[in-house]
């Protein structure tokens, strides 16, 4: 390779001057939304789909600008599809064995290959770069992993300059077990399908380094914002949906047609093709502002109503034939509208003109291929074969994946290093959107809170969330042992049998695995166990987080969590619960503007965890900032409890008591002790409820964070009670009815590890336990009836 004249191959461009409309990293003082991204990269691509052989052949021209302060002598590409090259890639090794075994033949694997890679030279011949290409595995050194390709450059790539690359590549598409590739019946989901540059970032000593991680089992993606101009050629008859706006379509020869899409200010490009799609288009849906939210934003941030205005969006729905029904389409539409309204109202307008909603196909077992996944302006939202009117599916996944347009597509955080910044934020947002939107029952669609509770045995309980009586009644071992008696402990195989039955019945999957088409039957009484219905995502997220336990801090690289449950909990449910705690801690008038401001600054700016903590500190105060750091950066837990002792009143006990004046401070007094069992120290409210004149009277005391003692005791004497009324209840962190319309039921600290010990009442109430035990009985009866058919 000749180096003569290569200096000229680097096309020098002056960096655009800083503008308030241009996002250049997280700007800690910016107010308002940025108009556009930094546009560091541009991809112009032509790709042809060989549907018969399940191959792609593509050409690309890449423009890339070094916007860092340092130089580099290499390029790094993500070749994500090489993760599916064999079962030895890092993604495969990190996946469970069952996933690897799912690949049934060589034809189900896939691979991306460069066939040409050149650096374009101004007024000269292109320089071949392919010869120097090598694969690296920076995280685990896995020689079989080819998801990161390193290409040396002949000269320094200096700051402020731009290069042009030209490449050709071909792709053997894998089966879409992980959301990309082909599926049965000519379905093609094309995500991470092209060679894609990593992100050049500032490093030390005047050098820049590429942020280009391997494709891990538990990581997603990270890329620069830029412009995409893609011409897709597919066999005639295929329907195509893609990132961005279609500007042209027509014949491409040899029985092919082309679709030409363009989009600016995005960091990825995905497309989907399938001849079986039914296509529905909403030309211009106008999102609606939430007046309550707007009012807060106007009051606190000083926005004018027109500054908050949302812009219309063209929405395309690609439905599989089995979902091509008005009822299903309407449900999809409603959920997309809800999402556009919710996210637009709170975090700023959706800036793109289009949104494509894709219903992925199913695999041989009927499972949705592609499930739910987010790409800029294109989301996939799998749905059950027969969407149940009382289950929020496809609503949940649709709102979630749309939410990623804000928490990922627009923010562009590094999903390898801080997945929780989009997954967790989006889980919290999705839960909030669903809770608000489906509180009222939609008679037309038969969907809504009064009926969306949870199925349980034969019953899908209607009513508001309060009527839900909890998750599956795991029948207590203690209860069994109590009934079986001590004898059980002496039966040598008892534990073994116990475990075996537990495993067998653990999932309560009454139909063999791999038959999701029959999942609809689980809604029938005889088969139905308990289906968790998203009455409130809050419940689900809190339960998920606490079930997984705290093994890692939230803020961690995605592939370095202790295990997959820890990754999932920290990235999704724990972050969501932490955010729900923070929003309750700060209240809607602080939290709503805070999150708005954070998103404004994060938009097109690749935010990092520290940016969030600083925003919380700046707008929520030092105490909130400290709580945020405790919640996200440590493994500390929070648990408050209350115990109450009522001292028996003194009677005429003995010789020396007789005739003495009783000490009313101790005699019959009630002793309340609040314990701090976790490591997180926060101010907590202790509520004493007295019964006076036929009504409860609350008295709140705040046990402040400054009081670092592990416990605090209050004594309520009989004299006090004579004055204030009879003490009937005590709460630590009591329910916040003032926050309920905004955030749902509960106290402030949803992260509290055990709410069973957070309250006390003088008069026991057996009804809650009876309600649940009744359900358990009915469920057991119905389940047994099912098996009774075998008898």
């Amino acid at each position: 390779m000749s180096f003569a004249g290569t200096a000229t191959c680097i096309l020098l461009y002056a960096l655009s001057s800083s503008s308030t409309l241009l996002a250049q990293g997280f700007d800690r003082v910016r107010e308002g939304l940025p108009g556009k991204s930094e546009d560091r990269v541009g991809y112009t691509m032509t790709v042809r789909l060989d549907a018969e052989n399940k191959r792609l052949v593509g050409k690309q021209e890449i423009r890339y600008r070094n916007a860092t302060q340092g130089k580099t002598r290499e390029l790094r590409f993500h070749l994500y599809l090489n993760a599916f090259r064999n079962v030895r890639s890092t993604l495969m090794r990190e996946s469970d064995a069952a996933f690897r075994r799912g690949y049934k033949s060589q034809a189900e694997f896939g691979e991306t290959r460069f066939t040409k890679l050149q650096l374009l030279v101004k007024d000269g011949d292109p320089v071949d770069l392919l010869g120097g290409l090598r694969y690296e595995a920076p995280e685990d050194g896995n020689a079989d992993d080819r998801t990161v390709a390193v290409v040396p450059l002949p000269v320094d790539f200096d700051p402020g300059t731009e290069i042009l690359l030209k490449s050709e590549f071909d792709v053997d598409l894998p089966k879409a077990y992980r959301r990309t590739g082909w599926g049965p019946g000519n379905f093609f989901m094309m995500a991470q399908w092209f060679p894609k540059l990593g992100v050049l970032q500032d490093a030390d000593a005047g050098l820049s380094s590429w942020n280009c991680h391997q494709f891990h089992a538990s990581t997603e993606f990270f890329a620069d914002f830029g412009s995409y101009d893609v011409r897709i050629e597919v066999p005639a008859g295929f329907k195509v949906g893609a990132t961005g706006k279609q500007i042209e379509e027509g014949p491409a020869g040899e029985g092919y047609v082309f679709h030409h899409f363009v989009q600016k200010d995005v960091h990825d490009f995905a497309w989907v093709a399938d001849p079986d799609y039914s296509v529905y288009v909403e030309d211009a849906y106008q999102p609606v502002l939430d007046p309550k939210v707007s009012s807060i934003l106007e009051d606190v941030l000083g926005y004018r109503t027109q500054e908050l205005a949302l812009t219309p969006v063209r929405i395309t729905y690609l439905l599989q034939p089995e979902h091509d029904r008005k009822y299903v389409l309407e449900r999809w539409k409603k959920s997309v509208h809800i999402a556009l309204d919710f996210f637009g109202s709170r975090f700023g307008r959706y800036p793109y003109e289009t949104l494509t909603v894709v219903d992925p196909t199913r695999d041989e077992d009927g499972r949705g291929l592609g499930g739910g996944m987010e790409y800029p302006t294109l989301i996939t939202c799998g749905s059950p074969r027969f969407p149940h009117p009382r289950q929020l599916s496809p609503e949940g996944v649709t709102v979630h994946e749309f939410g990623h347009q804000f928490w990922f597509a627009l923010s562009g955080n590094n999903e390898f290093e801080s997945a929780w910044l989009d997954e967790g934020f989006n889980s919290w947002s999705e839960g909030r959107a669903l809770d608000l939107a489906y509180r009222s029952y939609d008679k037309k669609l038969g969907v809504g809170a009064p009926l969306v509770t949870r199925a349980y045995g034969p019953w899908i309980f209607p009513g508001p969330p309060a009527a839900s009586l909890g998750p599956l009644p795991k029948l207590d071992k203690v209860a069994i042992r109590r009934l079986v008696g001590k004898a059980a402990a002496y039966i040598p195989w008892y534990d073994k049998l116990d475990g075996a039955l537990g495993r067998w019945n653990g999932e309560l999957r009454l139909l063999p695995k791999g038959m999701p088409e029959l999942d609809v039957l689980t809604y029938l009484p005889v088969l139905g166990n308990e289906r968790l219905m998203p009455t409130s995502a809050l419940y689900g997220d809190r339960a998920g987080f606490l079930r997984a336990g705290i093994k890692d801090p939230v803020d961690r690289f995605a592939w370095t969590y202790a295990d997959r449950p820890s990754y999932r909990s920290n990235s999704y449910s724990r972050t969501s619960t932490n955010l729900a705690t923070l929003e309750r801690f700060l209240g809607p008038k602080v939290w709503t503007p805070l999150m708005r401001r954070f998103h404004e600054r994060a938009r097109f700016a690749h935010p990092k965890p520290g940016d969030f903590y600083r925003t919380v500190e700046e707008m929520g105060g030092v105490e909130a900032g400290r709580l945020a750091r405790d919640l996200f950066l440590t493994t500390k837990s929070l648990d408050y409890s209350v115990t109450v002792k009522v001292k028996p009143p003194w009677g005429e006990k003995g010789l020396f008591d007789k005739g003495e004046k009783k000490d009313t401070e101790v005699n019959g007094a009630t002793e309340i002790t609040v314990y701090r069992k976790g490591q997180i120290v926060v101010p907590v409210t202790v509520r004493f409820v007295y019964w006076k004149d036929g009504a409860p009277v609350n008295e709140d005391v705040v046990w402040k964070a400054a009081q670092h003692a592990p416990w605090q005791r209050w004594v309520v004497s009989l004299a006090d009670q004579a004055k204030k009324g009879e003490l009937i209840q005590v709460y630590v962190d009591p329910p916040r009815t003032d926050l309920e319309p905004w955030f749902g039921p509960g106290g402030v600290y949803l992260v509290d590890q055990n709410l069973l010990n957070n309250a006390w009442q003088k008069t026991p109430n057996q009804r809650p336990a009876k309600r649940r035990a009744t359900r358990a009985l009915l469920w057991t009866q119905c389940l047994s009836n099912f098996f009774g058919v075998m008898g």
Binding site: P512, A773, A776, F787
Partner: protein
């Protein structure tokens, strides 16, 4: 109940009826269900017996739960769900009780089904009391259990074959994936086939048990072999006969879900009284149980018809039992001698036995004695 009532007698005058056609078969399931419902004492007793273990075991669960929730005012509030989540998390394990209950229920159904076939199913007149029902259930339990084992083995084999071989093979064929819809419906069809296979095994098991009870023989293997031959002879009529029961099973279920949960939802609201709901909701498992028991009676009827045709006997059960002796009318010595023989015994000619029903194909379909019949005979 004296032993004499177990004594089988042969109906020698029976005429050979015709096996029901498809249309007639459609009515057999509802008739069977009606027969079960017309034996309310037996039905309620079985229901009570089958509910009692679950009730007792769940009372322990209730105790534990109550000890945690009763003193906590949050449990009854809108945030009560959080508490239940914490209860579940902090009291791990415990999925075993439903599992144990399923085994207990399977065995109990096995126990009661045989007794049902031998008493209600045989149309004895007057119908034996609970003691007789229990006695017959106990006497025939091991036979019933022996017919259960092959069905469980067949279910395992069929499930294994389906999941490991059949489904992957079919779904691996390229032709299946020519379009999404074709793949979808092929998959759906396969799953229906799987359920059909399961259903067929369950029907065969019922026929085998009915055959054992009908003939009074003991060999479950022979009964299964006979059942397989039977299936070859009458597959369509048998399937048709079971379809209404299946539809009742599924339809009743749906009706219960959408009807009862709308009506009774308020009992699950805050501070409601769950006892009312629980009592009302018992209609549902009771109905399921009745349909399940009816499926056994239906099998017995089909067996009786086929046996009569094949063996030239009566359309009615070839073996019937002598009447339950009244308190003033002890069993005859002849009947006592026949007890325990285990096989078909002709102890008394039919004309001498007023309890043997008239035999004709029409009457075979109406296989329940009415009180008027009894009164007429006795009169």
């Amino acid at each position: 109940m004296s032993e004499s009532q177990d004594k089988p007698v042969m109906d020698e005058e029976a005429q050979v009826p015709a096996f029901p056609g498809l249309l007639q078969a459609l009515f057999l399931g509802p008739q069977a269900l009606w027969t079960v419902l017309r034996a309310p004492v037996v039905l309620l007793f079985v229901f009570f017996c089958m509910t009692l273990p679950a009730f007792l075991l769940l009372s322990g669960y209730y105790e534990n739960l109550n000890s945690v929730l009763a003193g906590n005012p949050l449990a009854n509030g809108r945030g009560g769900l959080f508490l239940l989540q914490d209860y579940d998390r902090l009291h791990p394990g415990g999925h075993e009780l439903p599992g144990l209950m399923q085994i207990v229920w399977t065995l109990m159904i096995t126990f009661f089904a045989a007794g049902l076939l031998s008493t209600v199913g045989l149309g004895r007149r007057p119908r034996p009391g609970l003691t007789g029902f229990l006695s017959e259930s106990g006497r025939l339990f091991f036979r019933s259990f022996r017919t259960l084992i092959p069905s469980l083995i067949l279910i395992l084999i069929w499930t294994g074959l389906f999941i490991v071989l059949l489904k992957p093979w079919v779904m691996g064929l390229d032709i299946v994936h020519a379009s999404n819809m074709r793949a979808h419906w092929v998959l759906f069809g396969l799953n229906v086939l799987f359920l059909f296979g399961l259903g067929k095994i369950l029907i065969l098991r019922r026929l085998a048990l009915a055959r054992l009870v009908h003939t009074g023989r003991k060999s479950a293997l022979l009964a299964w072999l006979w059942t397989l031959r039977y299936w070859m002879r009458h597959p369509f009529v048998t399937i048709t006969a079971y379809i209404p029961l299946f539809l009742l099973f599924a339809g009743g279920a749906l009706g219960a879900v959408y009807g009862l949960d709308a009506l009774l939802a308020r009992y699950f609201e805050q501070d409601s009284r769950p006892a009312y709901f629980m009592l009302a909701a018992q209609v549902f498992p009771l109905f399921y149980l009745a349909v399940n028991l009816a499926s056994f009676l239906l099998a017995r009827h089909l067996v009786a018809m086929d046996t009569a045709i094949r063996e030239g006997g009566a359309a009615e059960p070839r073996v019937v039992f002598a009447p339950e002796p009244s308190k003033t009318e002890p069993a005859t010595s002849v009947e006592k001698d026949a007890v325990g023989s285990g096989d078909v015994v002709s102890a008394k000619p039919a004309e001498a036995n007023p309890d043997v029903r008239p035999s004709s194909s029409e009457e075979a379909l109406a296989w329940e004695w009415t009180p008027e019949d009894s009164a007429k005979k006795e009169g």
